[in-house]
């Protein structure tokens, strides 16, 4: 299930529901990305999506992960709108029979989400605002999976 929301994410409740009735699953990995207050200042993140298109693009990534890692299930929730430090930006959960598949799929999904997903992200600092691009690290992270594939 893939969903965008402009209200706060509740990773714990999402994990509780995701783990229910999983007597054949074995392994659940999750990742929660939290907005950081790097500067100690009142930085606000603003995330914009293209409703419909963004979910569909993430859905393609999720289907790739499902096939590549043999997953039982995937959950991706992403915040949009204004996000204050300490709030979750993204929650990803993967379920698989064994832990390596669950971990790698979660890692893979996050790398794609951080560098390729159709979001536009603006950082509102105390004095000014700026649009953010993926970090060099994010590009390097996602490149790992393309190398491995070949």
């Amino acid at each position: 299930m893939i969903s965008l929301t402009d209200t706060p994410l509740r990773p714990g409740e999402l994990l509780t529901r995701f783990c229910e009735d999983r007597s054949e699953t074995g392994a659940v990995a999750t990742f929660t990305g939290i907005a950081r207050a790097d500067s100690g200042e009142g930085t606000i993140l603003e995330l914009e999506a293209y409703p419909g298109f963004t979910e569909a693009e993430i859905g393609k990534i999720a289907e790739t992960a499902r096939g590549r890692f043999g997953l039982d299930d995937i959950l991706i929730l992403h915040r949009i709108g204004r996000i204050t430090p300490g709030e979750a930006i993204v929650f990803v959960a993967t379920a698989a029979k064994h832990r390596r598949a669950a971990f790698e799929a979660c890692d893979f999904l996050m790398d794609y989400l951080k560098s390729r997903a159709p979001f536009w992200k603006k950082e509102h600092g105390p004095a000014s605002a700026r649009w953010i691009q993926p970090r060099e690290e994010d590009h390097a992270d996602v490149a790992r999976w393309e190398k491995e594939k070949s």
Binding site: G33, L47, E48, Y50, G52, F53, A56, H78, I89, V90, L113, K114, S115, R116, A117, P118, F119, W120, K121, K122, W131, I132, Q133, P134, D138
Partner: protein, 80 residues
């Protein structure tokens, strides 16, 4: 009549997010029309990394726009 959507820095630059534009029958005609109104926006729409989606599918090159098309200009994405 096409519905035109702008995202991220393009929206900031133009000062609008969404508009109906009646007169353009192709992507290139639409870009020309918008550039006529706002030269900086016109340049930005053809800037590096800007993708165009018609009815939520990325398109390459110039294509005709149907009367009820949704045309989105997508500047380089920030990721989630």
């Amino acid at each position: 009549m096409a519905r035109v959507l702008l995202f991220g820095p393009l929206r900031d630059l133009a000062g609008w997010r969404e508009r109906d534009i009646a007169e353009a029958a192709s992507i290139s005609a639409l870009k020309a029309l918008l550039a006529e109104e706002d030269e900086r926006l016109g340049e930005a729409l053809s800037g590096p990394g800007v993708k165009v989606a018609v009815d939520q599918a990325i398109v390459n090159g110039d294509i005709a726009i149907g009367p009820r098309a949704e045309v989105a200009f997508l500047p380089p994405m920030s990721g989630g």
